[in-house]
Subunit: 317 residues, 2 copies
């Protein structure tokens, strides 16, 4: 049925090892036989079986990518970039979704381990201990989590948060709310620490909140009651929900209150008003992560974020 290296060997009158070498070490085989073998292979439609090859070489040319939620608009650009980078080096990409369950991370990594040369783990929810245990099974790089011993790609959300608050301060806002994310989130802490450091603005924390529209929507009342004129939201979904919630309370953005999000996801750009937000370099992160993995370099990188000013921020009344 399927054509193997032996078929090619037989049809071209050489030993299988020669066929093998014409594909994996072409310089070791005479030019004329090489072209003959290649021709026969082409004609028979032979393609080396990567899984079989992996068995002896130990390299599968596959990578795993694990994210919390494929359908969360934050991830697709990252996945796409990771895929492109992998493809470019002739790697294939397993993609998996933990559905936000920490336990699934471990299980997936285990399941992948024999089948990939490494896995990239996005915003892992597992404990450091668990991750270190996994690191023994398979090389991996972590995105958005500081972890010693593993290659790491960070997006400097702290810097972005500072830019955002400075932007609000620059517009004249002196009291701004931080509509935070889930309790215990690394990102949430990062944002808060940075935001607090901006001089001249008083920061009031409203939260924790669910990291989606619902969370923002529910926080609207408390934001209004806090009397702030500007808001930094945990992410764009929260910002969008918040804007809607404020609308229900009769407050409009940016006239009554300015809102800036974080992530720069597509729905934010499409929102009305268009969301001012901190752009996370998700594509760069995805690309870089697979490059690190393939080249087996263990580094920790921090990617710059930047502020994208659109229509949801303005000077206070």
């Amino acid at each position: 049925m399927t054509v193997t290296i032996r078929d090619v060997a037989r049809a071209s009158g050489v030993h299988v090892s020669t066929v093998s070498r014409t594909f994996s070490a072409p310089h070791m085989v005479n030019a004329t036989t090489r072209t003959r073998v290649l021709a026969v292979a082409e004609e028979l439609g032979y393609r080396p079986n990567r899984a079989a090859r992996a068995l002896t070489t130990g390299r599968t040319h596959n990578l795993g990518l694990i994210v919390a939620d494929i359908a969360n608009p934050f991830f697709p650009p990252l996945i796409k970039a990771a895929h492109a980078a992998a493809r470019q080096r002739d790697y294939h990409l397993f993609v998996a979704d933990t559905d936000e369950e920490p336990a699934a991370e471990e299980e997936l990594v285990q399941a992948f381990s024999k089948q990939v040369d490494g896995v990239v783990l996005c915003s892992p929810r597992s404990s450091n201990k668990a991750l270190e245990r996994l690191a023994e099974r398979v090389p991996f790089v972590v995105i958005n989590r500081r972890l010693r011993g593993a290659a790491t790609v960070l997006m400097d959300v702290g810097h972005g948060a500072r830019l955002a608050v400075e932007h609000l301060a620059g517009l004249g806002h002196t009291r701004v709310a931080l509509v935070s994310g889930p309790a215990g989130s690394w990102t949430s802490a990062e944002i808060r620490t940075a935001a607090e450091q901006v001089p001249g603005v008083e920061l009031v924390v409203v939260g924790p909140n669910a990291p989606i529209e619902r969370g923002g929507f529910a926080a609207a009342r408390r934001v209004r009651d806090s009397g702030v004129t500007g808001v930094l939201a945990y992410n764009d979904l929260v910002a969008i929900g918040l804007i809607e919630g404020l609308g229900e309370l009769g407050l409009s953005v940016p006239q009554d209150v300015s809102v800036v999000g974080i992530d720069d996801i597509v729905p934010g750009r499409l929102n009305r008003p268009k969301l001012t937000t901190v752009a996370m370099p998700t594509a760069a992160a995805g690309r870089l992560a697979v490059d690190l993995l393939i080249q087996e370099v263990s580094a920790t990188t921090s990617l710059e974020t930047r502020l994208v000013v659109r229509d949801s921020t303005a000077a206070p009344r």
Copy 2:
């Protein structure tokens, strides 16, 4: 380094074949030896190597999923559902992105072929011929494309389009524009045919357009000039772009013109006004596709679409 079946065999004093069977045919091995082997395996941290297993069994327990653009909001829910379905049956999923290039489809299927038990192809752009050629290499199921000889999952966008136009008609609109997609798109033709069949409304086609916001935005002027009061857009992105474009022209939705989109992507739900749209059962399609693949049934299925009425449609002035 990595623990193999032989290590387990040695450590538990049985032959490798017995170890093999305790994992792949437990009923063939005596209960007491089985528990012993299992215990040893557990202790050593043994996990069967699926790639090696695939070499002899011919089943990889991997599936491939090929989409045009991972970052297009239409696909992530489909990918997520496909992944969940695969996971549930202990399959892993390769995900690939063609970047809208037809040639990439063929290349990817080829590359996957030895490593998967089947691939699901979403909205393929390749010619029928090319697809039929690929079908010989690996089982696959196609989503959103009619193809004899291959298992097919269709989403009945025609029916949805009819519902949408009927909805507009029911509100009192008598002239509606169809802001179409790219020339030659199967979906576009499908939509048009169905929309034309609704009695009592005069349909004017505006297009072709790029299937993204830009396309809708650019079509705004022609929509206004056509004097319609209702619009069915090729998809939600086009609808969103159109709404913005109409806004620039001083027309508001739904007061001046009603707009309905197709797809029901997240940004549509988040848009202001919230988009009335035809919901495509993408999750169901993804799930079903992998189920068909795994069970090796070759069927052609048509999934129901439905209309989701939100805020972008109203009675004409």
